[in-house]
């Protein structure tokens, strides 16, 4: 990958010291700077004084502040410091690896940038929550997202809900005016935030007592870094963000994470380990479900030990995949036909529990469930034969040690047969899709994308994919594979949100560009996003964010001129009118208008060449591309176009409910 061309510019310093954290102060400063610059040029009005270099004919210009952001000097933050700085320094000490925001909460977001945490500013607060969520799902590390009070905060609620059901340890913050204005509706944007995030966060607090800020920051990180993960919501009043802390003494013991929280994890009891081993030995067809907790506890090596020693197949579920490689001989993630045969299911870190019948395991299967906390959840939805409250990594390590070598040749043969049958069906769907030559069928996208990423010139484990969309996802998931942790980000997991996909691409690409967490070995590589035209409409403006930050993302838009719900509501033209868009819309041109590259693919043979061109743009210029694949909504009707709209089997490659 060629490094981006850097212009030789002088580093720009902040135009003032610490900014006034109030919104009014910020707006006044910006207006003064702008007016002053205009007058300095030639005394004309600000509008007429626009530099001709910025005229539209000159093309899109990337601001120097963005181009130089990595080289701009960071201030040396020392006491006395504001509450915003105390918070930011604590985040830095905790290893927070990424920050996504829209303007607002000014003192805090400036402090986070000053602290040197990689920061990204986007177009919509909700998108920035989704970006943080994807960043965390792609890395395993805590990220932060921030928005302004009132409408900025309410924009964030949907993204927080998705992060909550994914159990993503994201720290969501927002400004919230002043405590002294409580219940007055003075000015604008006063709103109680915490009640609105009840039920969609692991922990939350409105910060009102300045001297207790360090205590509540410690609360937040204890929640983010222990137990079953989940998002945390803090809202900052001005009194807290602006409070002056004079020395470390005022932080008390909360200045040291080694004493305000523990890294200790619960270990399984020897009795539970023995019961698990006994159940495994009794089973003829045991299977491991490797889920969310395997990722966050970094238990993938331990899972592999148990699987290989016991010759036990492994199937994945969760909001990120690849902790057990799909290429491993014991992988059952692409063997849905075998799942009904399992007589013992070992659920490892399966935080989001299916109800009876939602997983494809038969009614005679027994269950072991392993998770580190929330013992009260074990036995919910599915009966358990053994519940183990323990860190997934520690539990699987102990089981691996206690388990004798086993063999399940007939069972593994059955899984292999099921895998072959699934691949054969995928090949059949692709062959069908290629016969439809006047539009791009989703099987063509799924198969050729997978071939490009896994079976071409790229190492099969190199490329991270944020797999989104609705109908298109049901095809793409069948074909793409994950060979290492978090190679696939399972976009619509559990919440089923249509729309965050491009935003997920921002977060995923930032994670890979920076090489954070499990993405370290793949630092800088281009990233793929798949989405539909309905979803693209929600967060398309983040293409500009991608271009601005030179995030090498290839966004594939499945453009079938409708919401994915069209087919189920197409019986009458009247009803279908609520589910359709104009046809042949050019999302690729929208991308170009936002500083990205665009490709428009209207026939199946054009798709792979477009992928190749987009990949070169990503490598050479670190720019995003939108590949606008023109499909047709009628592809979902199997009476006209087999195989039609697809369903899913869980767990495994197709899963996104649990």
């Amino acid at each position: 990958m060629n490094p981006e061309n850097k212009k030789s510019v002088t580093a720009k310093e902040d135009i003032s010291g610490k900014p006034d954290a109030s919104r009014r102060g910020f707006m006044k400063m910006a207006a003064t700077a702008g007016a002053g610059a205009a007058l300095a040029m030639n005394g004309k009005s600000a509008e007429a004084a626009v530099d001709q270099k910025d005229a539209p004919e000159a093309g899109i210009k990337r601001p120097d502040a963005i181009a130089n952001v990595d080289t701009l000097p960071r201030p040396d933050i020392k006491f006395p410091m504001t509450g915003a700085d105390v918070f930011a320094q604590a985040c830095k000490a905790e290893g927070v690896a990424g920050f996504f925001c829209c303007p607002g909460n000014y003192g805090v977001i400036s402090a986070l940038v000053d602290a040197g945490i990689p920061s990204f500013s986007g177009r919509n607060e909700g998108s920035m929550v989704s970006a943080a969520d994807a960043f965390t799902r792609a890395t395993g590390e805590v990220s932060i997202c921030s928005g302004t009070e009132g409408p900025g905060f309410t924009n964030m609620i949907g993204g927080l809900a998705a992060a909550y059901v994914c159990r993503s340890p994201v720290l969501m913050i927002a400004s919230n005016r002043s405590f002294s204005l409580e219940d007055t509706q003075q000015g604008i944007q006063l709103l109680q935030q915490q009640p609105l995030t009840e039920g969609i966060k692991k922990y939350g607090k409105r910060l009102t007592q300045p001297t207790r800020l360090p205590e509540y920051v410690a609360y937040a990180f204890r929640q983010l870094k222990s137990g079953v993960p989940g998002p945390v919501h803090l809202d900052f009043t001005l009194e807290v963000a602006n409070h002056k802390f004079r020395s470390t003494d005022e932080l008390g013991y909360y200045a040291n994470k080694a004493v305000y929280r523990t890294e200790s994890r619960p270990a399984p009891s020897s009795a539970d380990v023995q019961k698990a081993v006994d159940l495994i030995r009794q089973a003829k067809r045991p299977i491991i479900v490797s889920s969310t907790g395997v990722f966050y506890s970094k238990a993938w090596d331990a899972v592999r030990l148990v699987a290989e020693k016991g010759q036990i197949p492994v199937v994945e579920s969760g909001p990120m995949r690849g902790q057990f490689p799909d290429s491993h001989p014991l992988s059952a993630s692409a063997a849905p036909g075998a799942l009904a045969s399992a007589d013992l299911v070992i659920l490892v870190g399966q935080y989001c529990m299916p109800t009876v019948g939602e997983f494809a395991f038969g009614p005679d299967a027994k269950y072991i469930r392993i998770q580190p906390a929330e013992a009260e959840d074990i036995g919910r939805n599915l009966p358990v034969d053994l519940g183990i409250v323990a860190c997934e990594k520690l539990a699987m390590e102990e089981i691996a040690q206690a388990l004798p070598k086993l063999s399940h040749d007939a069972w593994l043969s059955e899984v292999a047969t099921a895998r072959k049958a699934f691949e054969a069906e995928n090949d059949k769907f692709y062959a069908m899709g290629r016969t439809y030559t006047d539009a791009v069928h989703p099987a063509v996208i799924g198969k050729e994308l997978a071939d490009f990423i896994h079976a071409g010139q790229l190492p099969q484990d190199e490329t991270t994919i944020a797999s989104g969309g609705y109908g298109i996802a049901r095809y793409v998931r069948r074909y793409i594979r994950a060979h290492r942790p978090a190679q696939i980000i399972n976009g619509a997991y559990q919440y089923g949100a249509i729309g965050p996909d491009v935003a997920y691409g921002v977060g995923t690409a930032a994670a890979v560009k920076l090489g954070i967490g499990v993405q370290a070995a793949h630092k800088g590589h281009p990233v793929f996003v798949t989405t539909g035209d309905a979803g693209f409409g929600f967060t398309a403006m983040e293409i500009e964010t991608m271009a601005k930050y030179r995030l090498p993302v290839i966004v594939i838009v499945y453009n079938n001129n409708a919401w994915g719900t069209w087919f189920a509501n197409s019986q009458t033209q009247l009803h279908s009118s609520l589910h359709v868009f104009q046809e042949n819309l050019r999302y690729d041109k929208l991308a170009e208008a936002l500083g990205a590259h665009g490709e428009y693919v209207t026939h199946p043979e054009q798709f792979t060449p477009a992928l190749k061109r987009a990949y070169q743009v990503a490598l050479n210029d670190s720019l995003p591309t939108v590949i606008n694949c023109q499909a047709k909504k009628e592809f979902w009707d199997k009476k006209q176009y087999e195989p039609g709209f697809l369903g899913t089997v869980e767990p495994g490659v197709m899963a996104y409910y649990h």
């Binding site: 045969s341 109800t355 009614p363």
Partner: protein
Amino acid sequence: MNPQAILSTVQHYADRGIFRRVNNRPDGRGVGFTWMFDAFPLMLVWNTKTNTVQFKDVLTGVEARSQFQTELKAFLTGLSDESLPEHRRLDPEKVSLTMTRRDGALSIGLKLISASEDYAVRRLINLTHEMFVYLRLRWPEYMHEQFKLPEE
């Protein structure tokens, strides 16, 4: 045929928490329970004269000679295929598949040839589970229309 053996097998699944709200039919020839879909309880009936156990009207809205019915029949008869492992296969020496449609409602069952009641009921329960897995994958629109599964 021993109805008590059938009820005992059903009770086993109830004791495990797989079936809920088990209730015997007043005429003593069937038992109802909730399994996968809260709003759509199942009715397992038996006929001692024909030696069959059956899930009565397990699927509704099935059009005669439809692609849906044709494919479903092919799927279910395929469960007797010799290539299947023993624990998944309907052994034609022990049971044979029955499939009847009336007023758009499909009943699926097994006729006992040499099998015990426990074997037949367990196989019927398992094949019904596999049928719903197949329907979720191949016919999601049907599952949304008839069983109100989420459209998305």
